[in-house]
Amino acid sequence: MKKIFKIKEFGIISIILITYSIFFATNPLFLSKGNIQAILNSVGELGIIAVGVAFLMISGEFDLSVGSVFGFTPVVFFSIVPTFGIIPALFLCLLLACGIGALNGFLTLKINIPSFLVTLAGLMVFRGLVLWITKGFAFTITSEYYWFRNIVAGRNILGINNCFFFFIAVTVILTIILERTAWGNRSYAVGSNSEIARDVGVNVGKIKISNFILCSFLAGLAGILQFMRVFTIHPGTGTGYELQVIAAGVIGGTALFGGEGTIIGAALGSLFILSIDSGLIMMGVGGFGFRIFIGLTIISAIIMYNFLRRART
Protein backbone atom coordinates (compact mmCIF):
# COMPACT_ATOMS: atom_id res chain seq x y z
CA MET A 1 0.00 0.00 0.00
CA LYS A 2 2.86 2.34 0.93
CA LYS A 3 4.26 1.80 -2.57
CA ILE A 4 1.02 2.95 -4.18
CA PHE A 5 1.01 6.05 -1.97
CA LYS A 6 4.53 6.79 -3.16
CA ILE A 7 3.32 7.26 -6.74
CA LYS A 8 3.40 11.03 -6.97
CA GLU A 9 0.29 11.23 -9.15
CA PHE A 10 -1.72 8.85 -6.98
CA GLY A 11 -3.80 11.70 -5.57
CA ILE A 12 -4.89 13.30 -8.83
CA ILE A 13 -5.48 9.90 -10.49
CA SER A 14 -7.79 8.96 -7.59
CA ILE A 15 -9.61 12.29 -7.84
CA ILE A 16 -10.13 11.84 -11.58
CA LEU A 17 -11.27 8.23 -11.23
CA ILE A 18 -13.77 9.09 -8.49
CA THR A 19 -15.26 12.13 -10.23
CA TYR A 20 -15.36 10.44 -13.63
CA SER A 21 -17.16 7.46 -12.06
CA ILE A 22 -19.73 9.78 -10.47
CA PHE A 23 -20.27 11.69 -13.73
CA PHE A 24 -20.50 8.46 -15.70
CA ALA A 25 -22.93 6.91 -13.22
CA THR A 26 -25.11 10.01 -13.43
CA ASN A 27 -24.91 10.33 -17.17
CA PRO A 28 -23.15 7.65 -19.28
CA LEU A 29 -22.79 10.16 -22.11
CA PHE A 30 -20.04 11.79 -20.06
CA LEU A 31 -17.62 9.18 -21.41
CA SER A 32 -19.01 9.27 -24.95
CA LYS A 33 -16.57 9.83 -27.78
CA GLY A 34 -18.01 13.27 -28.52
CA ASN A 35 -17.70 14.48 -24.95
CA ILE A 36 -14.16 13.13 -24.52
CA GLN A 37 -13.21 14.85 -27.78
CA ALA A 38 -14.76 18.08 -26.53
CA ILE A 39 -12.81 17.92 -23.25
CA LEU A 40 -9.52 17.10 -24.97
CA ASN A 41 -10.10 19.82 -27.53
CA SER A 42 -10.43 22.45 -24.85
CA VAL A 43 -7.76 21.31 -22.38
CA GLY A 44 -4.71 22.20 -24.48
CA GLU A 45 -4.22 25.88 -23.71
CA LEU A 46 -5.17 25.76 -20.04
CA GLY A 47 -2.95 22.71 -19.66
CA ILE A 48 0.06 24.39 -21.27
CA ILE A 49 -0.24 27.33 -18.88
CA ALA A 50 -0.84 25.01 -15.92
CA VAL A 51 2.32 22.96 -16.47
CA GLY A 52 4.36 26.15 -16.81
CA VAL A 53 2.89 27.56 -13.61
CA ALA A 54 3.46 24.22 -11.83
CA PHE A 55 7.13 24.30 -12.90
CA LEU A 56 7.43 27.78 -11.39
CA MET A 57 5.50 26.83 -8.25
CA ILE A 58 7.79 23.85 -7.69
CA SER A 59 10.65 26.33 -7.53
CA GLY A 60 8.72 28.28 -4.89
CA GLU A 61 7.23 31.21 -6.83
CA PHE A 62 3.85 32.29 -8.18
CA ASP A 63 2.74 33.86 -11.42
CA LEU A 64 -0.65 35.54 -11.33
CA SER A 65 -0.03 37.36 -14.61
CA VAL A 66 -0.32 34.28 -16.84
CA GLY A 67 -4.00 34.88 -17.66
CA SER A 68 -3.24 38.43 -18.81
CA VAL A 69 -0.12 37.39 -20.74
CA PHE A 70 -2.29 34.71 -22.33
CA GLY A 71 -4.67 37.46 -23.50
CA PHE A 72 -2.01 40.06 -24.28
CA THR A 73 0.30 38.02 -26.54
CA PRO A 74 -2.27 37.17 -29.24
CA VAL A 75 -3.44 40.79 -29.30
CA VAL A 76 0.13 41.92 -29.99
CA PHE A 77 0.48 39.07 -32.48
CA PHE A 78 -2.61 40.19 -34.35
CA SER A 79 -1.39 43.79 -34.33
CA ILE A 80 2.09 43.13 -35.71
CA VAL A 81 1.41 40.37 -38.25
CA PRO A 82 0.67 42.85 -41.07
CA THR A 83 4.06 44.47 -40.53
CA PHE A 84 6.29 41.47 -39.88
CA GLY A 85 4.48 38.44 -41.32
CA ILE A 86 3.20 35.44 -39.35
CA ILE A 87 6.40 33.59 -38.42
CA PRO A 88 8.50 36.62 -37.40
CA ALA A 89 5.49 37.99 -35.50
CA LEU A 90 5.15 34.66 -33.70
CA PHE A 91 8.80 34.73 -32.63
CA LEU A 92 8.59 38.35 -31.57
CA CYS A 93 5.51 37.66 -29.46
CA LEU A 94 7.08 34.65 -27.79
CA LEU A 95 10.16 36.76 -27.16
CA LEU A 96 7.92 39.42 -25.66
CA ALA A 97 6.34 36.81 -23.37
CA CYS A 98 9.84 35.70 -22.32
CA GLY A 99 10.69 39.34 -21.60
CA ILE A 100 7.64 39.64 -19.35
CA GLY A 101 8.79 36.52 -17.48
CA ALA A 102 12.30 37.92 -17.18
CA LEU A 103 10.91 41.17 -15.79
CA ASN A 104 8.77 39.27 -13.26
CA GLY A 105 11.83 37.28 -12.24
CA PHE A 106 14.06 40.34 -12.02
CA LEU A 107 11.62 42.27 -9.83
CA THR A 108 11.11 39.24 -7.59
CA LEU A 109 14.70 38.08 -7.23
CA LYS A 110 16.76 41.24 -7.65
CA ILE A 111 14.45 43.92 -6.25
CA ASN A 112 13.01 41.52 -3.65
CA ILE A 113 9.32 42.15 -4.26
CA PRO A 114 7.27 39.01 -3.56
CA SER A 115 6.26 37.28 -6.79
CA PHE A 116 2.65 37.36 -5.67
CA LEU A 117 2.68 41.18 -5.80
CA VAL A 118 4.88 41.51 -8.90
CA THR A 119 2.64 39.24 -10.93
CA LEU A 120 -0.55 40.69 -9.46
CA ALA A 121 0.63 44.02 -10.86
CA GLY A 122 1.43 42.25 -14.14
CA LEU A 123 -2.07 40.80 -14.21
CA MET A 124 -3.52 44.30 -14.13
CA VAL A 125 -0.99 45.98 -16.42
CA PHE A 126 -1.26 43.44 -19.24
CA ARG A 127 -5.04 43.17 -18.99
CA GLY A 128 -5.14 46.97 -19.13
CA LEU A 129 -2.91 46.95 -22.20
CA VAL A 130 -5.20 44.42 -23.88
CA LEU A 131 -8.20 46.67 -23.28
CA TRP A 132 -6.26 49.71 -24.42
CA ILE A 133 -5.07 48.10 -27.67
CA THR A 134 -8.38 46.40 -28.53
CA LYS A 135 -10.57 49.30 -27.27
CA GLY A 136 -12.75 46.54 -25.89
CA PHE A 137 -13.47 44.89 -29.23
CA ALA A 138 -12.80 41.31 -30.27
CA PHE A 139 -10.45 40.43 -33.14
CA THR A 140 -11.13 37.67 -35.61
CA ILE A 141 -8.51 36.05 -37.79
CA THR A 142 -8.73 36.53 -41.51
CA SER A 143 -8.06 34.09 -44.35
CA GLU A 144 -4.35 34.97 -44.49
CA TYR A 145 -3.94 33.10 -41.18
CA TYR A 146 -5.66 29.90 -42.27
CA TRP A 147 -2.59 27.94 -43.33
CA PHE A 148 -0.94 28.74 -40.01
CA ARG A 149 -4.15 28.05 -38.15
CA ASN A 150 -4.45 24.61 -39.77
CA ILE A 151 -0.94 23.72 -38.63
CA VAL A 152 -1.21 24.80 -35.03
CA ALA A 153 -4.87 24.23 -34.31
CA GLY A 154 -6.24 21.99 -37.06
CA ARG A 155 -7.99 18.75 -36.22
CA ASN A 156 -5.82 16.09 -37.78
CA ILE A 157 -5.88 13.08 -35.47
CA LEU A 158 -9.08 11.45 -34.10
CA GLY A 159 -10.91 14.75 -34.40
CA ILE A 160 -8.70 16.29 -31.74
CA ASN A 161 -7.04 19.57 -32.50
CA ASN A 162 -3.29 20.01 -32.55
CA CYS A 163 -3.31 22.24 -29.45
CA PHE A 164 -3.93 19.12 -27.40
CA PHE A 165 -0.86 17.46 -28.91
CA PHE A 166 1.18 20.60 -28.24
CA PHE A 167 0.03 20.27 -24.63
CA ILE A 168 1.11 16.61 -24.50
CA ALA A 169 4.48 17.51 -26.05
CA VAL A 170 5.05 20.37 -23.57
CA THR A 171 4.07 18.06 -20.68
CA VAL A 172 6.54 15.39 -21.79
CA ILE A 173 9.36 17.90 -22.37
CA LEU A 174 8.85 19.64 -19.02
CA THR A 175 8.62 16.30 -17.21
CA ILE A 176 11.96 15.27 -18.69
CA ILE A 177 13.51 18.64 -17.82
CA LEU A 178 12.22 18.49 -14.26
CA GLU A 179 13.17 14.90 -13.56
CA ARG A 180 16.25 14.39 -15.72
CA THR A 181 18.19 17.62 -15.88
CA ALA A 182 20.21 19.66 -13.40
CA TRP A 183 17.81 22.56 -14.04
CA GLY A 184 14.90 20.44 -12.82
CA ASN A 185 16.83 19.07 -9.86
CA ARG A 186 17.78 22.58 -8.79
CA SER A 187 14.22 23.84 -9.33
CA TYR A 188 13.04 21.33 -6.72
CA ALA A 189 15.96 22.39 -4.51
CA VAL A 190 15.23 26.14 -4.55
CA GLY A 191 11.53 25.44 -3.99
CA SER A 192 12.28 23.15 -1.10
CA ASN A 193 14.43 25.69 0.73
CA SER A 194 16.11 28.50 -1.15
CA GLU A 195 18.49 29.35 1.72
CA ILE A 196 19.84 25.83 1.95
CA ALA A 197 19.96 25.63 -1.85
CA ARG A 198 22.08 28.81 -1.83
CA ASP A 199 24.30 27.34 0.90
CA VAL A 200 25.05 24.34 -1.27
CA GLY A 201 25.96 26.62 -4.15
CA VAL A 202 22.80 26.64 -6.27
CA ASN A 203 22.33 29.89 -8.18
CA VAL A 204 18.83 30.54 -6.86
CA GLY A 205 18.26 33.71 -8.90
CA LYS A 206 19.23 32.08 -12.20
CA ILE A 207 16.98 29.06 -11.63
CA LYS A 208 13.95 31.06 -10.54
CA ILE A 209 14.28 33.71 -13.27
CA SER A 210 14.56 30.92 -15.88
CA ASN A 211 11.35 29.44 -14.51
CA PHE A 212 9.54 32.78 -14.64
CA ILE A 213 10.61 33.07 -18.28
CA LEU A 214 9.44 29.54 -19.05
CA CYS A 215 6.10 30.20 -17.38
CA SER A 216 5.39 33.42 -19.31
CA PHE A 217 6.64 31.87 -22.56
CA LEU A 218 4.13 29.04 -22.22
CA ALA A 219 1.32 31.47 -21.33
CA GLY A 220 2.12 33.48 -24.47
CA LEU A 221 2.31 30.34 -26.61
CA ALA A 222 -1.01 29.10 -25.23
CA GLY A 223 -2.61 32.48 -26.00
CA ILE A 224 -1.58 32.31 -29.64
CA LEU A 225 -2.70 28.67 -29.89
CA GLN A 226 -6.13 29.54 -28.51
CA PHE A 227 -6.42 32.50 -30.86
CA MET A 228 -5.74 30.15 -33.75
CA ARG A 229 -8.10 27.49 -32.43
CA VAL A 230 -11.15 29.66 -31.80
CA PHE A 231 -10.44 32.25 -34.55
CA THR A 232 -11.23 35.09 -32.18
CA ILE A 233 -9.55 36.91 -29.35
CA HIS A 234 -11.70 38.75 -26.85
CA PRO A 235 -10.36 41.47 -24.53
CA GLY A 236 -11.36 39.25 -21.61
CA THR A 237 -9.66 36.11 -22.90
CA GLY A 238 -7.76 34.38 -20.13
CA THR A 239 -9.44 36.26 -17.29
CA GLY A 240 -9.47 33.98 -14.25
CA TYR A 241 -7.06 31.50 -15.82
CA GLU A 242 -4.39 32.41 -13.28
CA LEU A 243 -6.44 30.92 -10.48
CA GLN A 244 -7.64 27.95 -12.52
CA VAL A 245 -4.08 26.94 -13.35
CA ILE A 246 -2.93 27.32 -9.76
CA ALA A 247 -5.94 25.16 -8.78
CA ALA A 248 -4.91 22.62 -11.44
CA GLY A 249 -1.41 22.50 -9.99
CA VAL A 250 -2.56 22.18 -6.39
CA ILE A 251 -5.14 19.51 -7.22
CA GLY A 252 -2.39 17.76 -9.17
CA GLY A 253 -0.14 17.69 -6.10
CA THR A 254 2.02 20.80 -6.50
CA ALA A 255 2.86 22.29 -3.11
CA LEU A 256 1.78 25.91 -2.82
CA PHE A 257 5.14 26.93 -1.37
CA GLY A 258 7.37 24.85 -3.60
CA GLY A 259 9.57 21.79 -3.52
CA GLU A 260 6.88 19.29 -4.40
CA GLY A 261 4.80 18.44 -7.43
CA THR A 262 4.99 16.94 -10.87
CA ILE A 263 4.26 18.19 -14.35
CA ILE A 264 2.06 15.17 -15.09
CA GLY A 265 0.10 15.94 -11.91
CA ALA A 266 -0.53 19.52 -13.06
CA ALA A 267 -1.47 18.28 -16.56
CA LEU A 268 -3.99 15.85 -15.07
CA GLY A 269 -5.17 18.64 -12.77
CA SER A 270 -6.05 20.79 -15.76
CA LEU A 271 -7.77 17.84 -17.45
CA PHE A 272 -9.79 17.43 -14.26
CA ILE A 273 -10.79 21.10 -14.16
CA LEU A 274 -11.87 21.05 -17.79
CA SER A 275 -13.89 17.87 -17.21
CA ILE A 276 -15.79 19.31 -14.26
CA ASP A 277 -17.62 21.88 -16.32
CA SER A 278 -18.88 19.34 -18.77
CA GLY A 279 -19.63 16.75 -16.07
CA LEU A 280 -21.67 19.14 -13.97
CA ILE A 281 -23.74 20.27 -16.92
CA MET A 282 -24.43 16.63 -17.79
CA MET A 283 -25.45 16.01 -14.18
CA GLY A 284 -27.93 18.81 -14.57
CA VAL A 285 -26.17 21.01 -12.00
CA GLY A 286 -25.33 23.69 -14.53
CA GLY A 287 -22.22 25.74 -15.07
CA PHE A 288 -22.79 27.83 -11.94
CA GLY A 289 -21.73 24.86 -9.82
CA PHE A 290 -18.26 24.86 -11.40
CA ARG A 291 -16.55 27.20 -8.95
CA ILE A 292 -18.18 25.59 -5.91
CA PHE A 293 -17.00 22.17 -7.06
CA ILE A 294 -13.45 23.34 -7.80
CA GLY A 295 -13.22 25.09 -4.41
CA LEU A 296 -14.35 21.98 -2.58
CA THR A 297 -11.99 19.82 -4.61
CA ILE A 298 -9.01 22.03 -3.72
CA ILE A 299 -9.74 21.62 0.00
CA SER A 300 -10.30 17.86 -0.38
CA ALA A 301 -7.10 17.51 -2.44
CA ILE A 302 -5.01 19.34 0.16
CA ILE A 303 -6.42 17.14 2.94
CA MET A 304 -5.71 14.05 0.85
CA TYR A 305 -2.13 15.13 0.04
CA ASN A 306 -1.46 15.76 3.73
CA PHE A 307 -2.74 12.28 4.48
CA LEU A 308 -0.61 10.77 1.69
CA ARG A 309 2.47 12.61 2.96
CA ARG A 310 1.96 11.10 6.42
CA ALA A 311 1.24 7.67 4.95
CA ARG A 312 4.48 7.76 2.95
CA THR A 313 6.60 8.46 6.01
Binding site: R180, N185, Y188, N193, V200, V202, G259, T313
Partner: protein, 251 residues
Protein backbone atom coordinates in the same frame (compact mmCIF):
# COMPACT_ATOMS: atom_id res chain seq x y z
CA UNK B 1 47.22 10.44 12.39
CA UNK B 2 49.75 13.20 13.02
CA UNK B 3 48.58 16.77 12.66
CA UNK B 4 50.35 18.51 9.85
CA UNK B 5 51.60 21.87 11.11
CA UNK B 6 51.04 23.44 7.69
CA UNK B 7 47.94 25.57 7.51
CA UNK B 8 44.94 24.58 5.46
CA UNK B 9 43.06 27.77 6.29
CA UNK B 10 44.44 31.03 7.50
CA UNK B 11 42.20 34.00 8.28
CA UNK B 12 44.14 37.13 9.13
CA UNK B 13 42.83 40.22 10.88
CA UNK B 14 39.20 39.74 9.81
CA UNK B 15 36.88 42.69 10.44
CA UNK B 16 33.17 42.62 9.82
CA UNK B 17 30.37 44.97 10.80
CA UNK B 18 26.61 44.97 10.44
CA UNK B 19 25.86 48.69 10.32
CA UNK B 20 26.99 50.06 13.67
CA UNK B 21 27.58 46.64 15.19
CA UNK B 22 31.13 45.28 14.99
CA UNK B 23 30.69 41.52 14.64
CA UNK B 24 34.36 40.66 14.09
CA UNK B 25 37.28 42.77 15.34
CA UNK B 26 40.49 41.67 13.74
CA UNK B 27 40.06 37.93 14.29
CA UNK B 28 42.95 35.61 13.41
CA UNK B 29 42.02 32.01 12.90
CA UNK B 30 43.71 29.05 11.30
CA UNK B 31 43.06 25.40 10.63
CA UNK B 32 45.89 22.93 10.15
CA UNK B 33 45.82 19.85 7.94
CA UNK B 34 44.31 16.72 9.56
CA UNK B 35 43.09 18.59 12.57
CA UNK B 36 39.79 18.98 14.33
CA UNK B 37 39.59 22.45 15.75
CA UNK B 38 36.87 23.56 18.11
CA UNK B 39 35.48 27.07 17.78
CA UNK B 40 33.85 28.08 21.04
CA UNK B 41 32.39 31.16 22.61
CA UNK B 42 29.12 32.42 24.02
CA UNK B 43 26.09 33.44 21.94
CA UNK B 44 26.93 36.45 19.78
CA UNK B 45 30.67 35.83 20.08
CA UNK B 46 31.06 35.88 16.30
CA UNK B 47 31.60 32.16 15.61
CA UNK B 48 28.97 31.85 12.91
CA UNK B 49 29.90 35.20 11.35
CA UNK B 50 33.53 34.11 11.11
CA UNK B 51 32.51 30.91 9.36
CA UNK B 52 30.13 32.74 7.04
CA UNK B 53 32.96 35.01 5.90
CA UNK B 54 35.15 31.96 5.29
CA UNK B 55 32.58 30.32 3.00
CA UNK B 56 31.48 33.51 1.31
CA UNK B 57 27.93 33.76 2.66
CA UNK B 58 28.93 37.08 4.27
CA UNK B 59 31.43 39.65 2.99
CA UNK B 60 34.04 40.96 5.40
CA UNK B 61 35.13 44.57 5.75
CA UNK B 62 38.87 43.90 5.80
CA UNK B 63 41.36 41.11 6.31
CA UNK B 64 42.76 38.22 4.32
CA UNK B 65 41.76 34.61 3.89
CA UNK B 66 44.11 31.92 2.58
CA UNK B 67 43.18 28.36 1.67
CA UNK B 68 46.05 25.97 1.07
CA UNK B 69 48.32 28.99 0.90
CA UNK B 70 46.32 30.72 -1.83
CA UNK B 71 44.60 33.99 -1.11
CA UNK B 72 40.84 33.82 -1.65
CA UNK B 73 39.62 36.88 -3.49
CA UNK B 74 35.91 36.56 -4.20
CA UNK B 75 34.73 33.58 -2.25
CA UNK B 76 31.12 32.40 -2.51
CA UNK B 77 29.26 29.27 -1.46
CA UNK B 78 29.80 27.60 -4.82
CA UNK B 79 33.52 28.36 -4.95
CA UNK B 80 33.94 27.24 -1.34
CA UNK B 81 32.56 23.83 -2.26
CA UNK B 82 34.69 23.69 -5.38
CA UNK B 83 37.92 24.27 -3.47
CA UNK B 84 36.91 21.67 -0.89
CA UNK B 85 35.03 23.33 1.93
CA UNK B 86 31.78 21.65 2.95
CA UNK B 87 29.59 23.22 5.61
CA UNK B 88 27.01 21.50 7.76
CA UNK B 89 24.92 24.41 8.93
CA UNK B 90 23.02 24.52 12.18
CA UNK B 91 19.73 24.82 10.29
CA UNK B 92 20.66 21.74 8.27
CA UNK B 93 22.02 21.15 4.82
CA UNK B 94 19.51 18.73 3.51
CA UNK B 95 16.72 19.76 1.19
CA UNK B 96 13.52 18.39 2.71
CA UNK B 97 11.62 17.44 -0.42
CA UNK B 98 14.48 15.91 -2.32
CA UNK B 99 15.52 12.29 -2.19
CA UNK B 100 18.79 11.25 -0.57
CA UNK B 101 20.65 10.73 -3.84
CA UNK B 102 19.48 14.07 -5.25
CA UNK B 103 20.64 15.77 -2.06
CA UNK B 104 24.09 14.22 -2.23
CA UNK B 105 24.56 15.41 -5.80
CA UNK B 106 22.73 18.73 -5.64
CA UNK B 107 24.50 21.30 -7.79
CA UNK B 108 27.12 18.68 -8.69
CA UNK B 109 24.91 16.30 -10.61
CA UNK B 110 26.57 13.54 -12.62
CA UNK B 111 25.80 14.29 -16.26
CA UNK B 112 25.36 11.83 -19.12
CA UNK B 113 25.17 13.82 -22.32
CA UNK B 114 24.27 17.45 -22.88
CA UNK B 115 21.88 18.34 -20.09
CA UNK B 116 20.83 14.88 -18.92
CA UNK B 117 21.69 13.79 -15.43
CA UNK B 118 22.69 10.18 -14.89
CA UNK B 119 20.18 9.04 -12.28
CA UNK B 120 21.42 5.43 -12.28
CA UNK B 121 24.99 6.45 -11.58
CA UNK B 122 23.95 9.02 -8.98
CA UNK B 123 21.97 6.32 -7.15
CA UNK B 124 24.90 3.86 -7.22
CA UNK B 125 27.42 6.45 -6.14
CA UNK B 126 25.14 7.67 -3.33
CA UNK B 127 24.93 4.15 -1.94
CA UNK B 128 28.73 3.92 -2.08
CA UNK B 129 29.14 7.31 -0.39
CA UNK B 130 26.82 6.29 2.45
CA UNK B 131 28.47 2.88 2.86
CA UNK B 132 31.77 4.70 3.21
CA UNK B 133 30.57 6.11 6.55
CA UNK B 134 28.72 2.91 7.46
CA UNK B 135 25.28 4.27 6.77
CA UNK B 136 22.78 2.25 4.85
CA UNK B 137 19.34 3.42 3.88
CA UNK B 138 17.15 3.74 0.82
CA UNK B 139 18.61 6.54 -1.30
CA UNK B 140 15.21 7.13 -2.90
CA UNK B 141 13.81 8.16 0.48
CA UNK B 142 12.95 11.81 0.89
CA UNK B 143 14.97 13.69 3.47
CA UNK B 144 11.90 14.38 5.58
CA UNK B 145 11.71 10.64 6.21
CA UNK B 146 15.14 10.60 7.89
CA UNK B 147 16.35 11.27 11.44
CA UNK B 148 18.57 14.25 12.33
CA UNK B 149 21.63 12.00 12.46
CA UNK B 150 20.94 10.46 9.08
CA UNK B 151 20.56 13.94 7.58
CA UNK B 152 23.95 14.96 8.95
CA UNK B 153 25.32 11.68 7.60
CA UNK B 154 24.24 12.70 4.12
CA UNK B 155 26.20 15.95 4.32
CA UNK B 156 29.26 14.07 5.56
CA UNK B 157 28.90 11.41 2.86
CA UNK B 158 28.71 14.23 0.32
CA UNK B 159 31.85 15.86 1.72
CA UNK B 160 33.75 12.59 1.59
CA UNK B 161 32.54 11.70 -1.88
CA UNK B 162 33.61 15.04 -3.30
CA UNK B 163 36.93 14.84 -1.45
CA UNK B 164 36.41 17.94 0.65
CA UNK B 165 39.47 19.08 2.55
CA UNK B 166 37.61 20.91 5.28
CA UNK B 167 34.22 20.26 6.87
CA UNK B 168 32.64 22.95 9.00
CA UNK B 169 30.11 21.60 11.50
CA UNK B 170 27.96 24.23 13.19
CA UNK B 171 26.41 22.86 16.41
CA UNK B 172 26.58 19.35 14.96
CA UNK B 173 25.17 17.45 17.94
CA UNK B 174 22.33 19.85 18.71
CA UNK B 175 19.37 17.93 17.35
CA UNK B 176 20.85 14.45 17.70
CA UNK B 177 20.04 11.63 20.08
CA UNK B 178 22.83 10.44 22.38
CA UNK B 179 23.58 7.46 20.12
CA UNK B 180 23.57 9.61 16.99
CA UNK B 181 25.88 12.17 18.61
CA UNK B 182 28.24 9.40 19.59
CA UNK B 183 28.23 8.06 16.05
CA UNK B 184 28.94 11.54 14.67
CA UNK B 185 31.93 11.89 16.96
CA UNK B 186 33.25 8.55 15.71
CA UNK B 187 32.67 9.55 12.10
CA UNK B 188 34.53 12.81 12.72
CA UNK B 189 37.56 10.84 13.92
CA UNK B 190 37.32 8.71 10.78
CA UNK B 191 37.21 11.86 8.64
CA UNK B 192 40.42 13.01 10.27
CA UNK B 193 41.98 9.66 9.32
CA UNK B 194 40.87 10.38 5.76
CA UNK B 195 42.94 13.59 5.98
CA UNK B 196 39.95 15.90 6.27
CA UNK B 197 40.14 18.79 8.71
CA UNK B 198 37.09 19.83 10.69
CA UNK B 199 35.96 23.04 12.33
CA UNK B 200 33.63 21.97 15.12
CA UNK B 201 31.50 24.86 16.42
CA UNK B 202 29.57 24.07 19.55
CA UNK B 203 28.31 25.19 22.93
CA UNK B 204 28.75 21.65 24.19
CA UNK B 205 32.17 21.90 25.83
CA UNK B 206 32.32 18.19 26.62
CA UNK B 207 31.85 17.24 22.96
CA UNK B 208 34.32 19.88 21.84
CA UNK B 209 36.93 18.75 24.31
CA UNK B 210 36.46 15.12 23.41
CA UNK B 211 36.60 15.47 19.65
CA UNK B 212 38.98 18.39 19.02
CA UNK B 213 42.76 18.64 18.90
CA UNK B 214 42.81 22.37 19.42
CA UNK B 215 40.25 24.86 20.69
CA UNK B 216 39.85 28.48 19.71
CA UNK B 217 37.93 30.78 22.01
CA UNK B 218 36.38 33.95 20.64
CA UNK B 219 34.22 36.53 22.36
CA UNK B 220 32.58 39.75 21.16
CA UNK B 221 34.21 39.34 17.78
CA UNK B 222 37.75 39.05 19.17
CA UNK B 223 39.95 36.00 19.40
CA UNK B 224 40.64 35.47 23.06
CA UNK B 225 42.76 32.33 23.15
CA UNK B 226 43.96 29.27 21.30
CA UNK B 227 44.49 26.07 23.32
CA UNK B 228 46.15 22.81 22.37
CA UNK B 229 43.96 20.17 24.00
CA UNK B 230 46.74 18.50 25.91
CA UNK B 231 47.60 21.79 27.59
CA UNK B 232 44.17 22.43 29.11
CA UNK B 233 41.58 20.41 31.02
CA UNK B 234 37.89 20.51 30.24
CA UNK B 235 37.17 22.32 33.51
CA UNK B 236 39.80 24.94 32.74
CA UNK B 237 38.32 25.41 29.30
CA UNK B 238 34.85 25.88 30.73
CA UNK B 239 36.21 28.37 33.25
CA UNK B 240 37.99 30.31 30.47
CA UNK B 241 34.76 30.67 28.51
CA UNK B 242 32.78 31.70 31.58
CA UNK B 243 35.41 34.19 32.69
CA UNK B 244 35.49 35.76 29.21
CA UNK B 245 31.74 36.30 29.44
CA UNK B 246 32.00 37.47 33.07
CA UNK B 247 34.66 40.00 32.11
CA UNK B 248 32.50 41.26 29.27
CA UNK B 249 29.34 41.63 31.37
CA UNK B 250 31.15 43.34 34.20
CA UNK B 251 32.86 45.71 31.76
Amino acid sequence: MEINEKKLVEMKNIWKSYGEVQALRGVNFDVRYNEIIGLVGDNGAGKSTLIKTLIGIEDFSSGEIYFEGKKLQHINANLARKIGIETIHQRGNALEHLSVFRNIFINREIKKKLFWIDIKKMVEESKKALRNIRLQFDVFKNINELSGGERKGIAIARALYFKSKLIIMDEPTNDLSVTEAEKLIQISQKLKEEEISIIWISHNILDVYRVCDRIKLIDRGKDIADYEKEKITVDELREKIISAVRWRTSA
